[in-house]
């Protein structure tokens, strides 16, 4: 029984964890890409890496927090421009191919020795090297607070401050997405998702709108990358293809093209994922080494992603009529 409660509390903690917020923000960006505009970005981890490196390196080089924050955002925007210019005039799968490739190459570049002076090579950048400015920002007094079963220190890496900041950023992103998607601008994006030729024939500059969406979603992704590394460290190998796939699962689970889908998806996903992993680790400890439990959990996520796409493409919050996919 104690065991069960421990597992439940662990899963509950995931609901507010900074990483959950980071995934939610990355999924919000992806939702802007895929859900609203129909852009197939399969390299969200690349945007996140850009943000993580951008923020960490800028801070290490002496930038104050908000400047580093802006640099992280700019890094995502820059990547979006570089990837968008060759692909956004072409068929949709080219963007997919280029983004998935670019995400891998950015990771390789980050862990290569060539720029190891800045990126720390394969071992990455230790959190202590860049967390200072962020933690100095905290208005909270030092101490600990427990809310229900969740107890964290006020300031520090795994703290309430990190959580408050991360989720505030998520809420601001949701507000912005709400504002822009209810507007005529958002309507043009949805039109492009349905049929970009038709929108072009109505006199809209489709390339420009797609680029705007790609850049905005990319900025959300890079800021999510910053959130992702704030409580931990920059480790390029933690931000590979699997991260992208998890973000996709999060977004589709919640419901593409819905406002709260990415947030709900992220919370639910990590609650269940943690429950599953700790549960299996405890339950299967006799049959299976802990390493394989991780693999089994990952396998289940993959299967879950397939099942969502096949059986409930609109996700949890999606309108059944307004299927989240191309119905041409």
């Amino acid at each position: 029984m104690d065991e069960l409660i421990r597992i439940l509390i662990q899963a509950l903690a995931q609901l507010v964890a900074p990483a959950t917020a980071a995934y939610a923000l990355a999924a919000i960006g992806l939702n802007l890409h895929f859900g609203y505009t129909g852009l197939l970005n399969i390299g969200q981890a690349g945007f996140m890496l850009m943000g993580a490196y951008g923020f960490a390196i800028a801070t290490i080089e002496g930038a104050p927090f908000w400047l580093a924050f802006l640099i992280a955002a700019a890094a995502g925007a820059l990547l979006a421009l570089v990837l968008g210019i060759p692909t956004l005039k072409l068929r949709g799968d080219y963007l997919a191919i280029v983004t998935i490739s670019a995400a891998e190459i950015i990771r390789f570049a980050g862990r290569s020795t060539l720029w190891a002076e800045y990126t720390g090579g394969a071992s990455g950048l230790a959190g202590t090297a860049y967390k200072g400015t962020f933690q100095d920002l905290s208005p909270l007094p030092d101490g600990r607070t427990a809310i229900g079963p969740l107890e964290y220190i006020h300031n520090g890496s795994d703290s309430w401050w990190t959580r408050i900041f991360a989720w505030s950023l998520v809420l601001i992103a949701v507000l912005l997405v709400w504002l822009i998607t209810r507007s005529p601008w958002g309507r043009v994006l949805k039109g492009i998702r349905e049929d970009e030729d038709a929108v072009r024939a109505l006199g809209k500059n489709v390339f420009s709108y797609k680029m705007q969406a790609l850049v905005l979603g990319g900025i959300a992704g890079s800021l999510a990358g910053m959130l992702f590394v704030l409580p931990i460290s920059v480790a390029p190998d933690n931000m590979g293809r699997t991260l992208t796939f998890f973000v996709w699962t999060v977004m589709l689970l919640g419901g593409a093209a819905t406002l709260w889908g990415p947030v709900l998806g992220s919370m639910l996903f990590f609650f269940v994922y943690m429950l599953l992993r700790t549960g299996m680790r405890t339950g299967l400890s006799d049959i299976m080494p802990a390493e394989n439990v991780e693999h089994l959990a990952g396998l289940m996520v993959g299967v879950a992603l397939m099942c969502i796409v096949i059986f409930r493409p609109q996700g949890i919050l999606g309108n059944k009529k307004e299927l989240a996919f191309d119905v041409r």
């Binding site: 060759p86 998935i100 891998e104 390789f108 290569s112 060539l114 394989n292």
Partner: protein, 475 residues
């Protein structure tokens, strides 16, 4: 999408002829890999670094920089201790955590009248790289001049920055900081052709799937890794001879493709699921397969052939015997594919479906059946490609397919999406560029794959329909 339709058919035909001739020349070559005489390497000493593995490698050399076998070196640090014995080849040990390790030579194993330049060395292990500590065995007992902390790298096991590339680095030359000599260029040309041929096996399948179903399948990379895994399992666990292992790999991999089409793609096709949705299903499948593969081999790097590679020089290019044989097999198989696509009824039907599925259906071809054949064939080819790559490059990890997927997409885009022969030509180009780019001074070998992305972006900017593709009409 907007430019002219190129002179596709003559180019294709010429290519097909070339391929067929090459295949005819090599068809008679036996696929039997000669089992080398070397004893099976100790499992513990063939560490290849990757994202989760750090390696430590003691190197014991004599004055001529030749390895000295039989010296025992103790590796300690971070609650870890291991004793390894040097051999003629590289000895590398996976260490559990990153950090500082101390290598100590056991003086008792040093030949009489000789001693090491220093008794111990300290190295820092990092994930994704091999930390080397070199000892020099010298005459007498006096320590020699300052020994280098890193070994000369003619052993060719990859640089300090050996990376999470998913495949071993055997056969790639280390670039010094100057511009390369011709022999190096020629050697890398050979490596490039090898890589291109093996890559082509996988990308032709990717291209066929795209042509017949419209799906850019993201699980194709894992299908390649699966081939390497099955090669590893069939040789090392089941003890099959290599030729049988190759066959078993092809058959099992093809069966996975057939099975996927029966339970997944077929029903989804009949439901009329849009292509974009199917592409996301391939993402889920890719993730699932990736974890299945990790269940078998974890994060470790594995060798398909337990024995060490036997280098063979042909026309000034030194590659392992297994590599030469793999190239022959790849050529033969490509020849068979060319024959299949151009000469057989089903092959021609495949290309017809690729051109225009509705029209093909109207002429009595059953697209459903063709697509099933394509899935089966493509996954079989991907499996073969994976196994041959793992054999040629010495080792593989679960990340093998991730890198290859990028290069396959680059090849297929370069050649023109959906054209099988374009994929072949594209693969050779990509293989050459990737291998030759390591010759650029100062270029870390890990970034050679970036050249694939670079080509991809350039092609999309300049000629998005690829070299052999054709423009399509709107509306």
């Amino acid at each position: 999408m907007k430019a002219d339709r190129p002179i596709a058919s003559p180019a294709r035909r010429a290519l097909a002829v070339v391929v067929a001739v090459l295949a005819a020349l090599t068809a008679s070559a036996a696929m039997l890999a000669a089992p080398a005489a070397a004893s099976g390497a100790d499992v513990a000493t063939d560490c290849t670094p990757d994202g989760t593995t750090a390696c430590v490698s003691p190197i014991v050399l004599d004055n001529n920089n030749d390895p000295v076998p039989g010296i025992e070196v103790t590796i300690t640090g971070n609650d870890f201790e291991a004793v390894v014995t040097s051999t003629d080849g590289p000895v590398s040990v996976a260490v559990p955590t990153v950090g500082r390790y101390t290598l100590t030579v056991d003086p008792a194993t040093v030949p009489d009248g000789m001693s090491t330049d220093v008794p111990e060395r300290q190295v820092v292990a990092q994930t994704g790289s091999t930390a080397r500590g070199a000892f020099r065995i010298v005459q007498g007992s006096a320590p020699a001049e300052n020994g280098s902390t890193t070994a000369p790298s003619e052993t060719g096991t990859g640089g300090e920055d050996a990376e999470d590339s998913g495949i071993g680095d055997e056969g790639t030359t280390e670039n010094a900081s100057g511009w390369p000599e011709f022999s190096q260029v020629w050697q890398q040309f050979g490596s490039g052709i090898r890589f291109g041929l093996l890559l082509a096996l996988a990308s032709v399948g990717l291209s066929l799937i795209y042509g017949t179903t419209g799906i850019s399948t993201f699980s194709h990379g894992e299908q390649v890794t699966l081939g390497a895994l099955l090669g590893f399992i069939s040789v090392n666990w089941w003890g099959l001879p290599v030729w049988a292992a190759v066959l078993a790999t092809i058959v099992i991999c093809a069966a996975t493709g057939w099975f996927q089409d029966v339970v997944l793609w077929g029903p989804l096709r009949r439901r009329g699921t849009p292509v974009m949705q199917l592409m996301i299903v391939t993402i889920g499948l890719s993730m699932s397969l990736q974890y299945v593969i990790q269940m078998f081999i974890g994060g470790r790097s594995q060798r398909v052939l337990p024995q060490n590679a036997r280098p063979v020089e042909i026309a000034g290019i030194t590659l392992s015997a297994a590599s030469w044989l793999s190239m022959l097999v790849a050529l033969a198989v490509i020849g068979v594919i060319a024959w299949f696509l151009t000469q057989t009824r089903i092959g021609r039907a495949t290309r017809a479906v690729s051109d225009n599925a509705a029209l093909a259906a109207a002429t009595g071809i059953n697209p459903d059946r063709i697509v099933r054949i394509v899935w089966t064939m493509s996954t079989g080819l991907a499996g073969l490609s994976g196994m041959l790559l793992a054999i040629s490059f010495g080792s593989f990890t679960w990340t093998l397919g991730m890198i290859l997927l990028l290069l396959m997409f680059a090849s297929v885009t370069l050649g023109g999406m959906g054209t099988a022969f374009g994929a072949l030509a594209g693969s050779i180009v990509i293989g050459l560029v990737v291998e030759m780019s390591t010759l650029i001074p100062g270029m870390p070998s890990s970034l050679r794959y970036a050249s694939g992305l670079l080509i991809l972006i350039l092609v999309l900017l300049i000629r998005p329909q690829g070299l052999l593709g054709r423009a399509v009409r709107v509306g």
